[in-house]
């Protein structure tokens, strides 16, 4: 593929290898000015590696063994000349939480990205940039530090920083994963405007719908090779490669609804699990579950996890003002809310990582200590959390095996080496990772792989309730489908209750039994998913409507009342 005169960015026969083999193999790519190119592919297919290579950067452990990357005809591998990054090519990384400088206020981060500015223009620049990504432009917000932002806010700040210098090309690595639908729509609008202004884009995304609306051309990566390339419309409707077909199929198919098993009293995972045939069940197989979820002690009526009147503060600002919720065995409750509303905080309150200022959390009716340190082993094991930020959630110096073994040892008391190895293998398999990954460090994993490791870790202790804070955001459609299927299976088989925090309307609609909408730190609405998000309509629009509806517009449904629980 030869570049014509308008070609801005090219990769020719790019080959990058790790000690274990190639990550990218013979990748050719070119981008003309103002063009929008989407890169899709399953998790671990080399998208982030490619994006970094286009910036002239190789992660540690990755070697450049062939081909070249050029910007305006000049080689940028192995060393990018000064002035390429930032001003010519802007970058939005996959993991904003790990990228923002914790010592710099938002304002400083943006001004640093914007380069030299006259003193008088700085305030207006900061405000303009923040507003462009849908964040409040007031000074108070600009003076915040990254840790004072929610995941979605962080991501938008990173985006704002990339826009600051009006680069010729933007490289976006999953820029909207942490955004709620309205925010996402806003960002996409902003990006669309940029495109109008002739700014080229390389866009890495799992979100095929957004890709379809946005990209001129799509490249499908598979195992480090280009599986197919073509106009967006054609690739997304009639993919020719197997990889493309898989992705598109998973992305457009409405995930099979995994309704919860009837909440018959006394029904629980335990008998099912114990009596389950020892065959294909990778997770809760031969071993009788050794946590509260499986024991018969707690098999009483009522929700497995209930929170009432939760109040949570960050410093002096109150984020949650009295939240009530309940999840039942085998149920999946999706929590929706705009970015920054307090979903992560709620998750942390439930797990005891952020002790609530008021209110109680009860596990099967037994109140839990607000601080996780005050909970006993059973209680800790019973509530699992997949944190929002997979990069930070894994210890950078511990390999995957250690990450998985620890909860097994600590919370399940397994010490036998062979048994541990077997469980680790099973866990990896259940999240669709090859067993060989056990020896890897987090730095050697792709974003989606990290997220799956984090999920596997949370599942290791066989919790009764699993809280997933955006646990599928970094996953491609195929992997996402796999994970949701796994959760569904666990729910059905072991009675696992799932609290699914997500921005992905489709996931919320297809995977959950019930919805809970947070607004202004309170529960704005709750009810069965089919009621709140009836099938048919575009789920995105429905969620947007839900989130932007005035508080109280959505009433609790009979479903709640008939359970005798007043949830609002």
């Amino acid at each position: 593929m030869t570049a014509d005169s308008s070609t801005f960015l090219t990769a020719e026969g790019l080959r990058l290898e790790t000690a274990d083999g190639p990550v990218l193999d013979g990748v050719d790519l070119s981008l003309t000015r103002g063009e929008s190119l989407a890169v899709v592919g399953s998790s671990g297919s080399g998208k982030t590696t490619l994006a970094l290579a286009l910036l002239g950067h190789l992660r540690d452990g990755i070697r450049h063994t062939g081909g070249r990357v050029r910007v305006r005809g000049a080689d940028i591998l192995p060393h990018a000349p000064a002035g390429v990054r930032g001003s010519l090519i802007g970058y939005v990384g996959q993991d904003p939480g790990a990228a923002l400088n914790p010592y710099a206020r938002i304002r400083t981060t943006l001004l640093t990205a914007a380069g030299r500015l006259p003193r008088g223009e700085r305030d207006t620049t900061v405000r303009r940039l923040l507003e462009r990504v849908g964040l409040p432009g007031d000074t108070a917000f600009a003076r915040r530090y990254p840790h004072q932002l929610s995941g979605g806010q962080q991501q938008r700040v990173v985006l704002a920083a990339a826009l600051a210098r009006d680069p010729a090309v933007l490289i976006l690595d999953e820029p909207t994963t942490a955004l709620d639908p309205p925010a996402k729509a806003g960002v996409l609008r902003e990006l669309g405007a940029l495109r109008e202004r002739g700014i080229g884009m390389v866009w890495i995304s799992h979100d095929l719908i957004a890709v379809g609306a946005f990209a001129d051309r799509v490249i499908v990566l598979d195992g480090g090779r280009i599986a197919e390339e073509g106009p967006a419309r054609r690739v997304l409707t009639a993919p020719r490669s197997a990889a493309g077909r898989r992705l598109v199929a998973a992305g457009t198919r409405s995930t099979a609804r995994h309704t919860r098993t009837p909440p018959a009293s006394g029904r629980a995972g335990a008998p099912t699990a114990v009596t389950a045939p020892d065959t294909g069940a990778p997770l809760h197989g031969a071993n009788p579950p050794d946590t509260a979820a499986g024991s018969d002690s707690g098999k009483t009526d009522g929700p497995v996890l209930r929170a009432s009147g939760l109040v949570a503060r960050h410093g002096s600002t109150t984020v949650l003002h009295g939240v009530d919720l309940a999840v039942e065995d085998g149920e999946c409750l999706a929590v929706l809310g705009v970015s920054g509303v307090g979903k992560s905080t709620l998750a942390r309150c439930l797990t005891g990582l952020h002790p609530a200022a008021a209110g109680t959390v009860a596990l099967r009716g037994t109140p839990l200590a607000p601080d996780v340190r005050g909970r006993d082993r059973r209680e800790r094991a019973a509530v699992g959390l997949v944190a929002q930020n997979p990069a930070e959630a894994l210890h950078p110096r511990q390999d995957v095996r250690t990450a998985l073994v620890r909860p097994l040892k600590r919370l399940c008391g397994i010490t036998d080496r062979a048994e541990l190895d077997r469980r680790v293998r099973d866990l990896l398999e259940s999240v669709h990772l090859p067993p060989g990954f056990a020896g890897r460090l987090p730095g050697e994993l792709s974003g989606g792989q990290r997220q799956r490791v984090a999920l596997a870790r949370a599942l290791a202790a066989r919790p009764s309730v699993l809280i997933c804070d955006e646990a599928t955001s970094a996953l491609d459609t195929v992997a996402q489908e796999g994970v949701l299927a796994l959760l569904a299976e666990l729910r059905a088989r072991t009675g696992l209750a799932v609290l699914l925090i997500t921005h992905d309307a489709r996931v919320a609609r297809d995977a959950s039994d019930r919805l809970l909408v947070l607004a202004d730190g309170r529960v704005a609405a709750t009810g069965p998913t089919p009621v709140l998000l009836p099938p048919g309509d575009s789920p995105e629009e429905q969620v947007t409507r839900l989130l932007t509806a005035p508080a109280g517009a959505v009433r609790p449904t009979p479903y709640d009342t008939d359970r005798g629980a007043s949830l609002v």
Partner: protein
């Protein structure tokens, strides 16, 4: 944002309060501890010139045969009234310490003033090239400097600059009635000797912290977004290094106030370190007790400041965020 009203203010108030309590504990420890030191102040003072009867007489006269707690109470009372007692030489301790503490603080202050930029520059310079010859040179150089004792360095400086080149005075003979600050030529070599020795620790710690920050994802990201290296150092690396570095600087600085004994000796600089050792050697307990209390209070203050600095310099702590 008024810092003092927020979490920082609360922390500070608490810290100052515990600092005061610690000072009280320290005073007891110091008084009793120093009292238990071997040797008898009276015989140490009288040397071989005194007969045992005179020693006994003198002990009684100085109240040394009273129980230690009684003497502690008296001493503490005096201290609170601003009177740290009388030296065994007969001079009021306050008079003996008056200038010397300031002189030593001046030396230490100047040293820290230079230490901050020097150690930051050298530490960051080395950290940006980990494992490269430049890093090895800085590290090894710093290590060599720290492993040569300060009096050897000081003597070397004297040989070079005073005896050899005649550029600077060999000895800090500060005229009576003058403050050392009026004689900068006499401060150069003492400060330089202290700096050479003290900087190694800061350089090494700063380098170690900076290396890890520079290798982290945040710096990688900043680099990818085209932020200049200088800006990265300023906005991401230095702030991450500062909380640790401030500890080292403050503690080193206060340590130098009483710990620069040998440098003070070599230059005959009228500081408190020399006085401390002389007093320890001579068994002049009231002086030892007073100096240790002053240095202790200074150190506790420095530690409070260092703690405060960590809070102020770590946004997560400053804003009172979650753990």
């Amino acid at each position: 944002m008024t810092l003092l009203a927020g979490p920082v203010g609360r922390r500070l108030a608490l810290r100052v309060a515990t600092g005061g309590a610690l000072l009280a504990v320290l005073s007891l420890l110091v008084f009793v501890g120093v009292d238990l030191l071997p040797g008898d102040p009276v015989t140490a003072r009288l040397g071989p010139n005194a007969t045992p009867e005179r020693v006994a007489e003198l002990r009684a006269a100085r109240g040394l045969d009273e129980p230690v707690l009684t003497r502690y109470a008296q001493w503490l009372g005096g201290l609170l009234r601003g009177d740290p007692g009388t030296s065994f030489s007969g001079k009021p301790v306050s008079e003996m310490l008056a200038d010397r503490v300031g002189h030593s603080a001046l030396l230490a202050g100047l040293c820290v003033l230079l230490l901050v930029p020097v150690s930051l520059a050298a530490g960051l310079y080395a950290a940006r090239r980990p494992g490269k010859p430049a890093d090895r040179t800085v590290s090894t150089g710093a290590l060599l400097l720290v492993s040569v004792p300060e009096f050897v360095i000081a003597s070397g400086l004297v040989l070079l600059f005073a005896v050899g080149l005649g550029l600077l005075p060999a000895v800090s003979l500060i005229p009576a009635g003058d403050h050392p600050i009026r004689h900068p030529d006499m401060l150069v070599m003492p400060v330089l000797s202290l700096l050479l020795v003290a900087s190694a620790y800061s350089i090494r710690v700063i380098r170690a912290c900076a290396v890890s920050v520079l290798a982290g994802p945040r710096v990688e990201f900043l680099r990818l977004t085209g932020v200049r290296e200088r800006t990265i150092l300023r906005t991401a690396v230095v702030p991450a290094v500062l909380p640790v570095a401030v500890q080292v600087w403050l503690v080193t600085g206060v340590g130098l106030v009483g710990g620069a004994v040998l440098v003070e000796r070599v230059f005959a600089y009228p500081g408190v370190g020399d006085l401390l050792v002389t007093a320890v050697l001579g068994g002049d307990l009231p002086v030892v007790q007073a100096i240790v209390m002053i240095l202790g209070a200074a150190m506790l203050l420095a530690l409070v400041l260092a703690d405060l600095a960590v809070v102020l310099l770590t946004p997560r702590l400053r804003t009172g965020g979650a753990v």
